[in-house]
Amino acid sequence: MESRIQFVFLSLVLWLLIAPGAVAAPKAEELELEPLVVREPDRRQVEVDDLDSENWEIGGFGGLMNVDNFGTEPLYGVRLAYHVTEDFFVEGQYAKTELGDTSFERLSGGSPLFVDRDMTYYNVSLGWNIFPGESFVGGRWAFKGGLYLLGGVGSTDFADDQRFTWNAGLGYRLIATDWLALHVNVRDHVFESDLLGEDENYHNIEFSGGLTLFF
């Protein structure tokens, strides 16, 4: 039984190896019959749309997020960007963090005020590569990259409630190779909430770093 299976597999492999050659090599009589005109060289017209274009950037990031009144906690997320021109890109982000203890909770030593301590946000932002160019470290190293500004809108899931959120910030993109980039970001996420009594703007500062791939 085993040798039969082996026989089947081996013939299959043999066929796979031989078949392309058999297809590629035209028979002698076909060559003779074919008129000479048809055998012109390959078309050399250039199709720009068929080129490999790398305008998308995908990656992950991690860092720290300071949530107004709730302390600083680790943050991690994913980002996807599309580069429309060399100057502008559109970026979407989704990230997760947790709420720390409020100063009241810590001082009073009582039970926590809020049960849902998870915080997530998504946003869509427009980015502007404001200072593109090379950066130099000492005399030996030159890095491609540049500073960019970001601004956009999104939604934050905060204490069991969705809040409309503005964000603005800046980042540095260091292009390690054609397809890999390192990012450092600082951003402010602003939303309004009446969670602690009265309506107030919450400023949440994010500091993160990440890796992205161009494709």
């Binding site: 250039v46 080129l51 869509v124 590569n129 540049g146 809108v153 939604s155 969705q162």
Partner: protein, 257 residues
């Protein structure tokens, strides 16, 4: 034991066969055409942007290979001797003056008003106001012809005391597609779901069908960017006696393809 080695041999052969397939079938984009420089010279930058320095120039008559593209920049390889070459990035404006190996001009597309008028697909995002609540929306549209398009849109609604979402499908009419500021009219239908904030007890969930009519304008900015301004009036078919009317204002940015 002998059976195992035979099996692994077969597996290895099969794997090798599979790996050799993409090179022929072109599963990975390996289209790298050759072009000839016809200007006196073209400038090669170290990176895909005007901020990266020019480190080399290719002269008239040089044959260069186009490797890939990033926005309006093309990565090219210039052979130098048998085993040496230089790689750099050349801007679209200079690539337009290269010829193919037969000496013909190459069509490097540049987006303009004609492409805006003839656009097929649009995708965009926007923010707005729905009777005092903030909305964030994403939309996708398809043009049957320059005058009529179909569009689907999903919005998140974020209000002080309630959250929700809304989906819409509609037909858009563009009577003047060749104008840079091109007005449109729309009618559509959809579904809205509003959930009150958990702290408010008396309110109840609201899930209803909606119908809407609206008007607005697409403003062609440049490249593939469109700015969109839109007003919609939604009629919510509530389960109560009276239907509810909602006004929505939106501003958005679209890309066309």
């Amino acid at each position: 034991m002998r059976g195992l080695t035979t099996t692994s041999l077969i597996a290895g052969l099969l794997l090798a066969g599979l790996l050799s397939v993409p090179a022929h079938a072109g599963l990975f984009r390996d289209y790298q055409p050759e072009v000839v420089v016809s200007d006196p010279y073209i400038e090669m930058h170290t990176g895909p942007g005007r901020g990266y320095p020019i480190f080399y120039v290719a002269g008239q008559g040089d044959e260069i290979v186009i490797l890939k593209r990033k926005t309006d920049w093309f990565k090219v390889r210039l052979p130098r001797g048998t085993h040496q070459f230089r790689e750099g990035w050349v801007h679209l404006d200079q690539m337009r003056h290269t010829l193919d190996l037969d000496g013909n001009e190459i069509d490097f597309p540049i987006y303009g008003m004609d492409d805006f008028t003839q656009r097929r697909w649009i995708a965009g995002i926007g923010g707005g106001d729905l009777d005092g609540a903030n909305t964030i929306s994403g939309y996708l549209g398809f043009h049957l012809n320059p005058y009529i398009s179909l569009q689907a849109e999903a919005s998140q609604i974020l209000a002080d005391y309630s959250d929700g979402w809304m989906v819409n499908g509609g037909i858009y009419m563009h009577p003047f597609p060749q104008w840079r500021i091109s007005p449109f009219f729309t009618i559509g239908t959809g579904y809205i779901s509003i959930e009150p904030q958990t702290t408010i007890v008396q309110a109840e969930d609201l899930e209803d069908e909606i119908a809407n009519a609206g008007a607005g304008a697409n403003v062609y900015i440049s490249d593939r960017f469109i700015m969109r301004l839109e007003y919609k009036r939604h009629t919510v078919y509530t389960s109560r006696d009276k239907n509810e009317e909602l006004n929505q204002w939106k501003v958005g940015f679209s890309l066309f393809f």
